[in-house]
Symmetry: none
Subunit: 242 residues, 2 copies
Amino acid sequence: MAERLYREIGESIKQEIAKSNIKVGDKLPTERVYAELFGVSRTLVREAFIMLEIEELIEVRKGSGSYLKNHLSLKANSKVSDVGPFELLQARQEIESSIAACAALVITKQELQTLQDLLEIESAELETVEKANNADRDFHLLIAQSTQNTVLLDTATRLWDMRDGNPMWKKLHARIQDTSYHDQWLEDHKKVLVQLRKRNAEGARQAMWQHLENVKQTLFKLSDTDAPDFDGYLFAQPHTSH
Amino acid sequence: MAERLYREIGESIKQEIAKSNIKVGDKLPTERVYAELFGVSRTLVREAFIMLEIEELIEVRKGSGSYLKNHLSLKANSKVSDVGPFELLQARQEIESSIAACAALVITKQELQTLQDLLEIESAELETVEKANNADRDFHLLIAQSTQNTVLLDTATRLWDMRDGNPMWKKLHARIQDTSYHDQWLEDHKKVLVQLRKRNAEGARQAMWQHLENVKQTLFKLSDTDAPDFDGYLFAQPHTSH
DNA sequence: AAATGATTATTGGCATACCAATAAAATTAA
DNA sequence: TTAATTTTATTGGTATGCCAATAATCATTT
């Protein structure tokens, strides 16, 4: 553990706020009050306040006091590394299928050709796991890029960065490399490309959705059969819309 | 202005890091060094370090020193303000409508009640533009939160941060405040809530999609009629799927 | 010479004390 | 009584000092 104390204090303060009925805009107890409450120096409480301020939860005004700025329920947990693979896949399924639908309407011939090339790399270079993985990523992100919308591309990139920076995903992925699931996914990709070529937005959406559904199913099987240590990463996969 | 000092110190430290050739993993100068360099107490530098630590830029180890954790090239600020309002809205339309669909399946009664409360704030406190704006944001983000998927919440939060950090949007928004478009949007929000109550995923998706379509239309009119300075922000609004 | 243990120096952690801005209360003038 | 002014209290801002963990150095032993 060995977490820095100010973080604990900060979390404790959040809990105290939650227990109380302080509304947005209301004044919080002073630093000194919290210091005495937790039996620590004001310095530590002050550091915790800085943490909450950077999280945009509170606002600090010199000589006046500190005020609740946002609902603390909206603590955007940007701890990238402890997002579960399934939670992430769920989000990707929703977002990337929409991106595919957008892309279908405006993708250029040039981009379609590049996607085709990527598919060939995927099918050819299955020997190198890393290259196939990169081609996979490139395939998805190129579709995002083809929407001509930098926000969508930015969002998709962010989702893939989350995946690649996640140790738990690497574990799962390592287990896949010697299976033949790649073939399934390659077929999925082909189906997506077909729909993009047809400029069929809903077809592309559905194809991408099914692709990520397949990935989810595969990873679920793998983690379910022989991986007891993925507990806690399965909690968030509730909705199976469409 | 009256910015808190630790923030200035923090930014200065970032600049110092940028000027030096400190790589990721390297040890950076001690708190005392920066304190002397900037002519302030170590306390302030320490607070600045906490800021950088929360931003996941550095890592602090007691007794050892502080170390660069990530490349500070991720200067999100610059990109965020370059995004055009319509491009952003287009992305929000796609992503948030999917989020609404997900939310419809798992949202709790408590959360539905909170949304109801927010609607009342929106309709009641129209006098204060800022409060209505906050309620708007809270309404959308609470829906994201109700999906129970932190990635979706994180993504939605990011999109709203882009909006709120965008000077161009503020210009547009300032123009709206004395019109009655809020009423339209309030009605939109009500329709979304109705669908969420019915647990109707596709209905919620459609309602949210229509809401953001209306926002887009409104802002387009406003920028089209009497705002020659929005050129270049209109380029990316190509697809009108569904 | 190398490995091990003790010592010293460095570095962040935390607390106390005082400063400055704001807000509240008391005082005074109209 | 009311308004303006002064005074006081409250609150966050900053600096200094000492503590504890780590790392570096040196002495000791093999």
